[in-house]
Symmetry: C2
Subunit: 364 residues, 2 copies
């Protein structure tokens, strides 16, 4: 079935992949990853073999990597040195949390046929043999496949869950979003604009301009150009109603200290702390009482029930021209480590994605 | 109208009161208070003169006192050295937040007549001339007046608001309550029991026994007999679902660190920190994300709408014999400072109250 399988007799064949080669203490380096062959197998009964065309790169991947110090394991557990690096949830429980969008090559599941586009898979690898139940069939054009990892995929859905289930922003409120130019930030900020809030982003320089000029945020603090604290005082003189935080650390603290009465700190991600073995101390909780604040964390895995609603809502916004999104595409699996490092260093320009092949038939 | 008014010609007369004489850095001392005469006036049109029979003593009063260092003012503002000390909300906006239960002496308001029992007033003083709108007429026996400051008053209502609006405890959950023998703790813990939770109190020695033996909590940690951390590990091996915290500091932190997935930290009071000018650093917020925690502060003033529901619910529980409550009564206004100091040191045995007179006609 697979033309150039290297070991057709055993039913397994070459599957370019990347495994973890080190347990970085801080931001990982290229040497913490290495190319390898994950081997792929012919699909068994109920299984589907698909080839990834796009792989998602997200800051939270960093937390899955092994750590040189003892730390609480992330949801789904940690991977070890030597394991294939992961994109998306592990173990994968629902295709919504998969890391790839691709094309079916072979199927022994009645719902899938070669040529179908699907979302699924989690390893940093080219080929995936997956139970059909863990694939989502995508009714889209090839040109729209990228959106399944972005504006219609997990990052924008994460933003939506945080807005619906936690932030509940009201018209006229002041909404501050960190990592505003990132995959989640772009989406959350635009959702807050649509809800009628005044939206202030926090991002690194080039992204700050993009966020204001292209996404239409009211302002964006370029955190490499001025201190976040002073900028918040200038832009939010009456304080902040909602801080939707993706980074933790000092940025989170600066926002927390400026929350108004009934303010909400939505803890969506702590990208700035994923590389640090020691957790930063939190803010004093006295203002939580005096100002009646809410600090609330959420994890998208708990909110699958909202996905169809989100998808419908997003379709409407796009139809009405209300929503923009940007991708930062790295070419080729071998550039995935660099793409992750760029995301962790805040150098990505939009939702980071790796294009694994320009066509489903390239290189196989 | 007033038999022994000292200055009947001017319409004002003696009104024993206590004013603030110092700005304590830590727990106040007796010398931070002094007896004085607040003077009282005949009621004007729409006003009522009443004599307090019972005055509430609550830990949050400490926050109203002047501080030797700069700190954010409490809700309603701070009082200054020389001001009359306050019980309840200042400025008083609703009789629910008043500090006294007493008997009307004279009235120029159509809804009130001499002999009526009322809740109202906020100063640490004997007589109060108040707009009728800021009094709540109490349809009760003299023997039930005390309950208006306790089981039917602000402390139990605070507990109820925290349970209804924040904790939302479910049957089978593990509920930990600090200052369990205090005015709020006694009530919140019993409400959690009624809701079907397993309830663990934290209190100082003698109160710990009372909380278990008389209120029926499942267990109570005597924090002066064993370290809270070890006791929580022993009593809550699977973690805590809700921590209803009245004290802040190390006790709050010990509970926070043991919250389970979807756990809630209800920030109701921070009695242990009211005496400290510097706010303690808070817990690291990483677990908020990983464990999807909620930290939420609330202030009873925002929830007046719930009061009639609370009162009806509490009446039902008392009718069914489900609710117990204990008062720690100091005799005479001159013992109010000692009662407040005892509360701040955790030496009170039940809801602290000062009895100002055994009868409405004593000493006037």
């Amino acid at each position: 079935m697979i033309a150039d399988a290297t070991d057709a007799a055993s039913g397994s064949f070459t599957n370019p992949a990347i495994r973890v080669a080190g347990a970085p203490g801080g931001i990982p380096e290229a040497s913490d990853f290495e190319l390898c062959d994950a081997q792929a197998t012919e699909p068994g009964p109920g299984e589907v073999l698909f080839r990834s065309l796009y792989m998602s790169i997200d800051p939270a991947m960093r937390r899955k990597m092994p750590s040189p110090v003892e730390a609480p394991a992330p949801l789904g557990g940690q991977i070890a040195v030597g394991d294939i690096m992961v994109a998306g949830q592990t173990p994968l429980e629902h295709p919504l949390f998969a890391g790839h969008a691709g094309e079916v090559i072979a199927s022994r599941h009645p719902d899938f046929a070669p040529g179908d586009f699907v979302r699924g898979g989690s390893g940093w690898q080219t080929l995936h043999t997956s139970p059909g139940e863990l694939l989502m069939k995508l009714d889209c054009e090839r040109s729209e496949l990228l959106d399944e990892l972005g504006i219609l995929g997990q990052p924008a859905f994460v933003a939506w869950c945080g807005m619906e289930r936690v932030a509940q922003v009201q018209p006229g409120e002041t909404f501050v979003i960190s990592a505003a130019g990132g995959a989640i930030g772009m989406a959350a900020g635009q959702m807050a604009k649509i809800a009628g809030a005044r939206v202030i982003g926090i991002a690194s320089g080039e992204k700050a301009d993009f966020v204001v000029n292209e996404l239409g945020f009211d302002a964006c603090i370029a955190r490499d150009r001025e201190p976040v604290e002073a900028a918040l005082d200038r832009l939010c003189p009456d304080g902040i109603d909602v801080c939707f935080d993706n980074v933790g650390g000092n940025v989170q603290r600066a926002c927390f200290d400026r929350l108004r009465d009934f303010g909400r700190l939505v803890v969506c991600g702590m990208a700035g702390e994923y590389n640090a073995p020691e957790a930063d101390a939190g803010p004093p909780l006295r203002p939580v009482l005096r100002k009646r604040l809410t600090i609330k964390g959420f994890v998208v895995y708990d909110h699958i029930d909202l996905y169809p609603v989100f998808r419908e809502r997003m379709a409407g916004w796009r139809r009405d021209g209300l929503f923009r999104y940007r991708y930062d595409i790295a070419e080729g699996l071998e550039n995935a480590p660099g793409a992750l490092i760029a995301v962790l260093e805040g150098r990505n320009r939009g939702k980071a994605v790796v294009r694994l092949a320009r066509s489903a038939h390239d290189g196989l």
